[in-house]
């Protein structure tokens, strides 16, 4: 049912498209182009001289053990964030989908964290997990766990994962809840009459019918974990201790902004961009093949 609108002349359609095209150009194509251009140059820290080095920056980045460490961190971090944020959000959405007393209150409360800025979220969790003053931090020490995310890399990773998951939970929750509510009640009733118990109904009916939502959220969550968690890591751990929580995006910042190594930082950005484009393409291919509806 597509309606074709035919404009007379060219000016009006161009004028209507211009704002969107301008935004895309200024905020995506231009910086992306700059990054690609920069990644082929070597520049001194003061920006006084630059020379063209071809793919040398890429070679150096890919053979740099600290970059490989960041890549590994990113895999662990993104995997944990996506798995936990999706799993928990699905669990909460299934609970909220039941006809509960006060379900609307419960639902709106769960949506709130999405409105909290990443840095604020980080500070919030910092207060909770701070070893000397944080409630949870002190609690962990009281039960004999030598909790200190400032010294222990694993602890630091756990902390940034928790904060990043908490921040993303609300978004996933909304989508899962909407997905659950779009499953016709009669289909579930038919399954109940066919003899399926609740757990079986979930895994054989609800979960497959949610798969379009799940795949979409997986893409969004991985992108989130790759790029948008910078603020959380920056505020919580600064990538430390000993680069234990330095992800690829954080390393781009460290090398570009702090170390002023623009060429390598740009090369890392380009690699990151390629990774995310590839991930998304693979996922969409999978969506087409595996997701029914």
């Amino acid at each position: 049912m597509q309606k074709k609108v035919i404009f007379r002349g060219r000016l009006l359609p161009i004028a209507l498209l211009a704002p969107q095209l301008a935004v895309t150009f200024v905020f995506f194509f231009w910086p992306a182009g700059q990054a690609i251009y920069q990644s082929l140059l070597r520049e001194d820290a003061f920006g006084l001289s630059r020379e063209f080095v071809g793919l040398e920056n890429f070679q150096e980045v890919l053979s740099d053990p600290t970059w490989l460490n960041a890549a590994l961190n990113t895999v662990v971090f993104s995997g944990c964030v996506a798995a936990l944020a999706l799993g928990l959000a699905l669990f909460l959405a299934v609970q909220a989908d039941k006809s509960l007393r006060g379900a609307t209150v419960y639902r709106s409360l769960l949506i709130w964290p999405y409105a909290v800025a990443p840095a604020v979220a980080a500070v919030l969790w910092l207060f909770l997990f701070q070893p000397e003053v944080g409630m949870i931090g002190r609690g962990l020490r009281a039960v004999g766990i030598p909790w200190d995310y400032r010294l222990n890399g694993t602890h630091a990773m756990v902390l940034v994962v928790i904060a990043a998951v908490w921040k993303q939970l609300a978004y996933n929750f909304i989508f899962f809840l909407a997905g659950l509510q779009s499953i016709p009640a009669s289909v579930l009733e038919a399954a109940a009459i066919d003899g399926a118990r609740p757990a079986r109904r979930f895994w054989t009916i609800i979960f497959p019918l949610l798969s379009p939502t799940t795949f979409f959220l997986l893409v969004v969550n991985l992108t989130y974990a790759f790029f948008e968690t910078f603020g959380i890591i920056h505020a919580l751990t600064n990538g430390g201790p000993a680069k234990a929580t330095e992800t690829l995006i954080y390393k781009v910042y460290v090398d570009g902004v702090e170390n002023l190594n623009l060429g390598q930082s740009a090369a890392q950005s380009v690699i990151l961009m390629i990774i995310v484009i590839a991930l998304t393409a693979i996922q969409f291919r999978a969506v087409e093949k595996k997701v029914h509806y």
Partner: protein, 355 residues
């Protein structure tokens, strides 16, 4: 195979009662149709039998086993939904095999049963398709197939034909009846369509506002409706209702204009002057002039081909519909109200008055 008993089943949603005590016995292999206008509680009743709703009080007994507190899964029933409720992510085979897999039947047995059912329903070639790729009639068949492969004690149908177009509906109606006879499964069928009800049911339950107005075989409901609701609901066009009063001795009724009609089958109990409602089906209204005929001014003529429905108005604004064989044209139509076809109801309670 199975019997079904409902014992004083009541249901209220919050404070609103929707079912006021339903008692029903369904014999083995019988197809009982629950028919009524929307909101009369018929779907709620079916859902209670299925176990999708819990009755506020009363018992549901299948095969002498009280299943009131049991999950739908434990009741040995199958249900066909109005929107078919097929599993969109499974093939036709998957849809039909789902319940059997849960029961843990061996694979060969599942395949045999699904193939057999698909053969009966003529959907053998569609087994690898998904519901999205099927037409409405095919989906309907798959929904039926999913019900019959289970070989349940009881079939429940929740307005399964309402989403089909008119032609397909007539075809599926006949098919459901044939299938139910062939399999001999006790069935409960909910519909708002009186034609479906009349043609399908061994017995009908006509529901009115949460109460069964009449439970009887279709022809008895048609020829001896228990009250004015049933009389008006079953039959198309609807029965004519004519206000009247009872004459002294109960042997006759007096119409508003003074015409007296003697009952053909004997006197009715009741005091003289008791208000009555006389019912006469449109096909029993006879055109003809005479001393006690009613003159109608014709308002609307509906030609149906083999017959013509004439809507007219008598003296005092009395609306009367007549169904005449063949064609009709004209502005006036005198009709007679043959006493032999009159249904007599108490105008106060609406109940049928028999001699």
């Amino acid at each position: 195979m199975a019997t079904l008993s409902l014992r004083d089943v009541r249901k209220s949603f919050n404070a609103t009662p929707v079912l006021h005590g339903i008692d029903l016995e369904v014999a083995d292999g019988e197809l009982v149709v629950i028919v009524g206008a929307s909101g009369c509680g018929k779907s709620t009743l079916l859902r209670i039998v299925a176990g999708l709703e819990t009755p506020t009080s009363g018992q549901v007994v299948i095969n002498n086993r009280d299943v009131t507190g049991l999950e739908p899964a434990d009741r040995d029933i199958a249900m066909v939904f109005q929107n078919y409720a097929l599993y969109p992510h499974m093939t036709v085979f998957g849809n039909m095999a789902y319940g059997l897999k849960i029961r843990g039947l061996p694979r060969a047995e599942i395949e045999k049963r699904v193939k057999d059912a698909a053969e009966i329903l003529g959907i053998g070639a569609l087994l690898e398709r998904r519901p999205k790729q099927l037409s409405g009639g095919q989906r309907q068949r798959v929904a039926m197939g999913r019900a019959i492969v289970r070989e349940p004690a009881l079939f429940l149908f929740d307005e399964p034909l309402s989403n089909l177009d008119a032609k397909l509906r007539v075809q599926m109606r006949a098919e459901i009846r044939r299938l139910q006879r062939r399999l001999g499964v006790t069935s409960l069928f909910v519909t708002h369509d009186q034609v479906e009800a009349m043609t399908l049911g061994d017995r009908l339950v006509v529901m009115n506002a949460g109460r069964p107005a009449q439970v009887a075989p279709p022809m008895e409901i048609f020829s001896r409706p228990a009250d004015t609701y049933v009389a008006g609901f079953i039959g198309s066009p609807a029965m004519n209702f004519i206000p009247a009063t009872l004459e002294e001795g109960g042997a006759a009724a007096r119409l508003a204009k003074g015409t007296v009609i003697r009952f053909a089958d004997g006197p009715r109990p009741g005091p003289a002057g008791m208000p009555l409602t006389l019912g006469l089906r449109p096909e029993h209204v006879v055109p003809g002039d005479g001393p006690d005929s009613v003159p109608l001014s014709v308002e609307l003529i509906e030609p149906l081909g083999s017959e013509t429905v004439v809507h007219g108005r008598g003296p005092g604004g009395l609306a009367i519909t007549a169904r005449l064989p063949g064609a009709f044209s004209g502005a006036a139509l005198p009709v007679r109200l043959p006493a032999g076809h009159l249904h007599v109801f108490d105008a106060g309670t609406g109940r049928r008055l028999d001699p």
